[in-house]
């Protein structure tokens, strides 16, 4: 019994480190890819100096930030100021615990599920954890003792809670079809048909809310530099700034992974190994983020709130009713 527990912990730790490493690698890759793809969409070259085609640029940036001066403003609330980046990045990284990235595989006669853990309330876990990120942002805004930071932090939190509603509501249709809150069940259910076919409206609402939830263009109001300098992280420098940056990208990857799991069939797919399929779909979602960013201009704050409360919220309730009606009629 004790030996079994020991092996369980070893396997869990290996999976945790693998996923953690993969997420870190993807964050670094995303920073380079975003700059490069956006540059090419705007007919420029982007980073070219460090390494072939600027491939080592994110690492150079990281080293630079590591040796930058770490400024804590005199008037700032020191404890909260330091705690804020930690509070932002940890929820972003912990979300990946329940996302299945592959089928069950067998190593040394032991079958291992390619998911860190399969809990029966995985869906609730994802939302509980991802909504914790708001605290870090509010803390950062308030603790900096700077007007821009405060306004950025408040705006950001108002935006995030508004879109969290529609984010949660958009996935209820999928839960109705699956009848389970476990993410592994959601993926297994989609072996014949992806949920995006059954829930096109749900996917649209999810996509719009997810972009707003992670504060990306065209909903990147909290960081609108023309009015708020850099929003809640105006006063942050050095690795603390880098930590916020990392959290933004990790959040982007996690909402994409959730989109893949809930709507795009997870790791399901023909011919290629499941993990490869998962990565292909994830990359497609991430590319979509960059594409949107270089296509649309930023919204005004009132437009953003109207869009969330007056358009997406009724639409997502309607989606639930339509899904319910069709399921009742079909029996």
């Amino acid at each position: 019994m004790n030996k079994e527990l020991f092996i369980f912990i070893i396997i869990a730790s290996v999976k945790v480190l693998l996923v953690f490493g993969a997420v870190q690698f993807m964050v670094i890759a995303m920073i380079w890819l975003e700059r490069k793809i956006m540059a090419h969409m705007q007919v420029r070259l982007g980073p070219m100096r460090v390494g072939p085609h600027g491939l080592l640029q994110p690492i150079a940036d990281g080293i630079k930030l590591l040796f930058k001066e770490d400024i804590i403003p005199q008037k700032a609330s020191k404890f909260l100021f330091i705690l804020a980046p930690i509070m932002t990045v940890v929820p972003a990284l912990v979300t990946f615990a329940v996302i299945p990235f592959g089928d069950t595989i067998t190593i040394f006669g032991r079958s291992i599920d390619l998911v860190i853990t399969d809990i029966n309330v995985g869906f609730l876990y994802v939302f509980a954890v991802s909504s914790l990120g708001i605290y870090g942002i509010v803390m950062a805004g308030w603790a900096s003792n700077n007007k821009y930071s405060l306004l950025g932090g408040i705006r950001s939190s108002a935006q995030m809670i508004s879109y969290e509603l529609t984010l949660g509501l958009s996935l209820i249709g999928v839960v109705m079809l699956t009848g389970s809150l476990s993410l592994v069940d959601v993926v297994n259910e989609q072996s014949t048909l992806w949920n995006i076919v059954m829930q096109p409206l749900g996917f649209f609402i999810y996509a719009a809310s997810a972009i707003a939830e992670v504060n990306r263009c065209p909903f990147d109001l909290p960081e609108a530099e023309t009015e708020l300098v850099a929003g809640y992280h105006t006063e942050y420098s050095s690795m603390k700034f880098a930590t916020f940056f990392m959290a933004e990208y990790a959040n982007m990857i996690s909402v994409s992974a959730i989109a893949v799991t809930f709507f795009l069939g997870g790791w399901q797919g023909p011919f290629l190994p499941p993990v490869v399929w998962f990565m292909i779909k994830l990359s497609a979602c991430l590319f979509f983020f960059i594409w949107i960013r270089s296509t649309y201009p930023r919204l005004r704050y009132d437009q953003l709130m109207y869009f969330g409360w007056k358009f997406l919220l009724p639409l997502s309730l309607l989606n639930i009713l339509i899904t319910g009606l069709i399921m009742v009629i079909k029996g």
């Binding site: 953690f20 930058k68 770490d70 615990a97 809990i119 405060l150 300098v229 309730l317 009713l321």
Partner: protein, 117 residues
């Protein structure tokens, strides 16, 4: 409960990573503080007044509306899980529930609760 152990491991790894990150720059970066450097950033001019300003009451309203609607969302989760076995009964129940909510929603809308000026 054993299923929650890996989450704890991931949590420890993530916290360790974040703390190291934040601590590392404090150790490695050069420290050369100055009065101007440590004052709040305000586009280059001297900071005016306190940053602990009052802000629009609208944000509080949004927070309250969020709490109301979020409770409703949480109520919908167990219903959605059990929907296949509830069938018509569950559907009618939820139509009534969402209907009542819609009345409140339009009341808020008409009273100008969602307006930004």
């Amino acid at each position: 409960m054993i299923n929650y152990l890996p989450i704890l491991i991931l949590f420890i790894v993530a916290v360790g990573f974040a703390v190291t990150n934040v601590a590392l720059s404090a150790v490695l970066g050069r420290q050369k503080p100055g009065v101007e450097k440590l004052s709040p950033y305000e586009c280059g001019i001297e900071p005016i007044g306190s940053a602990r300003e009052r802000f629009s009451v609208k944000f509080y309203l949004i927070a309250m509306l969020f709490v109301i609607f979020d409770i409703e969302v949480i109520f919908l989760y167990p219903w959605a899980v059990a929907f296949k076995s509830l069938k018509v009964f569950g559907f009618v129940e939820m139509v009534i529930f969402i209907g009542i909510l819609f009345i409140c929603y339009f009341y808020i809308w008409k009273r100008g609760g969602l307006e930004w000026d």
